[in-house]
């Protein structure tokens, strides 16, 4: 029988992929009662009692007291590591708030659907109210400020074993069976002691004696939500990661990481930007929703700059037959930005158009910081259009936004935009980087690896040969030096 010293009280760290609400674990407790009067082992086993209980995350339970001396009561408590006890209840409220927010995030598709209907501008105010109410907290409480500010905000759950008689409250009777720490930001759960394996003999608590009996408590912790937790303990994660296959796509892909940084120099304030990415025929995108989007509306600062710092990323799948040498001049993907302004009367104006050609092949300088795009707007010579724009919004627009570069229905040889007058309206700053990943070619990767291996093997042989040669030279020198001493004439 193993005792406490034989068992490692490991800390287990797990990354939770799913929602923490689905997490559950089981604790089995075995109580062994030994009477001092009987030394026969058969009699000892007679008093074994086994209790099992399944716990959910943050489930606060307490079992009814069992019969005297074999009493077992489990309960869980919640407390914030970084908060002291008097903030406990407020923290719980915050937790509830987060749960509600989570629900709303789940309905984001419905929101998105509704927002796409731009024609419903009459509901604009109502929607704004609904949208901002769920996202912005206009008068955040002190606890929410603290919660948002402090990193490493762990939620802690303890499973206690109460050994008290008849439910009497005494802290000495409480033994902590397990402590679980959950970080909602990093989605990492730490459990002490770690989950027991199938064949484990369990953990043993210090033995207690009551009257003439000796009680031994042995417990097991089992994870009942195996799929959601993934082992990342310090000792094992490297081994684990080695098993991960790096995803190599069937065809070449380009990962475009973009950031709409800022816009400056435009006529009106409160700007927002719609972007859309046009792909040439044959190119595909895994998630077509990511091909377009809208930033938030931003008021400019003292430097007359509106800051968005809006990130987007698009995964573009290239056609299989693309050939770098031949298809150098075919159309590449381009990104179109339309800058809008919205005023206090909810009048929307187009402030400018800008576009950027996304390079087809990534280079060593594919990370482009602060790309400045000059935005322009079609100019109208009609005075009424200007008055229209000034008083009731709206303006001369492009019939098709892709006219910024090459129109989609254009099939002729020569593209002429003569006759369209435009004027410069402002500057848009973006950061773009694209990462290209070549398609799966097993030969290539293996060859690379083999080449490395060969090179290293050759280097090893060469260095061994060098050592052998120098050893031979040294041995010869030693023999030469010893020759006069060993010669018979010298003796």
């Amino acid at each position: 029988m193993s005792n406490k010293d034989d068992i490692d009280y490991d800390i287990g760290s797990y990354r939770c992929e799913g929602s923490i609400e689905h997490f559950k674990f089981r604790i089995c407790l075995e109580i062994l009662r030994t009477s001092f009067h009987h030394k026969n082992t058969e009699i000892e086993k007679k008093y074994t009692k086994r209790i099992e209980k399944v716990f959910h995350w943050m489930e606060k339970t307490s079992d009814e007291p069992q019969d005297q001396n074999d009493l077992e009561e489990t309960s869980s408590s919640i407390e914030g590591k970084l908060l002291d006890s008097h903030l406990k209840t407020e923290f719980n409220q915050q937790h509830n708030g987060r749960t509600i927010l989570h629900d709303i995030m789940g309905h984001s598709s419905i929101l998105t659907e509704s927002f796409k209907k731009i024609s419903l501008m009459k509901d604009h105010k109502k929607n704004i109210h609904f949208f901002t109410k769920n996202i912005i907290d206009n008068s955040p409480s002190d606890i929410s400020k603290l919660h948002n500010r402090l990193p490493n905000f762990n939620q802690i759950m303890h499973v206690l074993l109460d050994l008290g008689n008849n439910g009497t409250e005494n802290e000495n009777n409480n033994l902590v069976l397990a402590s679980l720490y959950w970080n909602p930001n990093s989605h990492i759960m730490t459990i002490f002691p770690n989950f027991t394996t199938n064949n484990s003999s369990g953990y043993i608590l210090p033995i207690s004696t009551v009257k003439d009996s000796c009680f031994e408590y042995r417990f097991w912790i089992e994870n009942l939500s195996n799929e959601s937790l993934e082992l990342i303990t310090d000792t094992f994660h490297l081994l684990k990661f080695n098993h991960y296959e790096f995803y190599i796509p069937e065809t070449d892909t380009i990962e475009i990481l973009g950031e709409i940084t800022s816009a400056s120099g435009f006529e009106y304030d409160n700007l927002f930007i719609r972007y859309s990415i046009d792909l040439p025929s044959g190119w595909k995108c895994a998630n077509t929703n990511s091909l377009n989007g809208t930033t938030h509306t931003c008021r400019r600062n003292n430097n007359m700059t509106s800051i968005f710092s809006y990130l987007f990323n698009v995964t573009v799948i290239l056609p299989k037959t693309i050939d770098q040498a031949k298809d150098q001049h075919i159309n590449s993907a381009f990104i179109t930005f339309i800058i809008y302004s919205i005023d206090s009367w909810n009048k929307e104006r187009v402030e400018g158009y800008a576009s950027y050609l996304i390079p087809k092949f990534s280079t060593s300088i594919s990370y482009k910081n602060n790309v400045k795009l000059e935005a322009w707007l079609p100019k109208s010579r009609n005075c009424i259009d200007n008055l229209h724009r000034y008083f009731i919004g709206g303006t001369v627009k492009l019939a098709e936004p892709n006219y910024i570069s090459v129109p989609s229905n254009f099939n002729e040889k020569l593209l002429s935009k003569f006759g369209m007058e435009v004027e410069h309206r402002g500057t848009l700053d973006i950061t773009l980087s694209n990462i290209m990943q070549r398609r799966k070619s097993i030969g290539n990767t293996n060859n690379n690896m083999n080449k490395n291996d060969i090179v290293s093997a050759q280097a090893l042989v060469k260095s061994v040969n060098n050592v052998m040669a120098s050893f031979k030279r040294a041995r010869q020198r030693m023999l030469l030096a010893c020759q006069p001493i060993l010669s018979p004439s010298h003796i």
Binding site: R15, E17, G97, R98, M105, L111, T112, F115, K116, N127, I128, T132, N134, I135, I136, D137, S139, K145, N148, R149, L150, P151, N152, N185, S186, I232, Y244, F246, Y247, E255, L257, E259, N270, N289, G293, T294, T295, H296, T297, C298, R299, N301, S306, I307, S309, N313, T315, I342, I365, Y367, T431, S433, I435, Q437, R438, R439, K440, N444, T445, M449
Partner: protein, 175 residues
């Protein structure tokens, strides 16, 4: 498995309405990415420069990522707070930026904004401080039509990052 090392510092902040700032930062990555070592979030000290126009933090960042796919490239998320003479700390800005995708030394400017409320809220904020903040910072990632979120431009936070990539080329990724 490919690996990415991000070593650098959260240098400074500038162009904010007032000094005495501190910053909470975190790094977010997709499901393909796991942190092997290093902290994924942190909080700087409060820096209150008297003469310098910049607020300096020089907060170290050292993260070691393991990756099994380029999707979900890591990005930094910063929240700048103002710590005033009454001991109150109020949000000054949220900002986001991608970790540079090419190895080498990079200076990355992360521009920030903050949500604004109606006229009454702004009036109150001007005199009493405080003001609107996001209910959960995670919200900045949601929604394609975010134009209903009204914000105000603020300053920028400067990162100085050294990026080291390992084994990406073996899997056909050209960085």
């Amino acid at each position: 498995m490919a690996e990415l090392f991000i070593i650098g510092q959260l240098c400074s902040a500038e162009e904010f309405p007032s000094k005495s700032l501190f910053c909470k930062w975190s790094v977010h990555a997709g499901n393909n990415w796991k942190i092997i070592s290093g902290h994924k979030e942190g909080q700087t000290q409060v820096d209150s420069p008297y003469y310098d126009s910049r607020t300096w933090w020089c907060h170290p960042i050292d993260i070691h990522f393991a990756s099994k796919g380029i999707q979900g490239w890591p990005k930094f998320h910063v929240q700048v707070y103002h710590y005033d003479s009454y001991g109150r700390s109020e949000i000054y800005g949220y900002g986001f930026c991608y970790v540079p995708t090419t190895p080498g030394t990079h200076t990355v400017d992360c521009h920030t904004w903050r949500p604004i409320g109606n006229l009454r809220d702004e009036f109150r904020r001007f005199f009493l401080g405080g003001g609107a903040q996001l209910k959960s910072p995670d919200f900045v990632y949601c929604g394609t039509d975010r134009y209903r979120l009204h914000t105000e431009s603020l300053g920028k936070v400067r990162f100085r990052l050294n990026v080291i990539a390992r084994n990406f080329r073996h899997y056909g990724v050209e960085l």
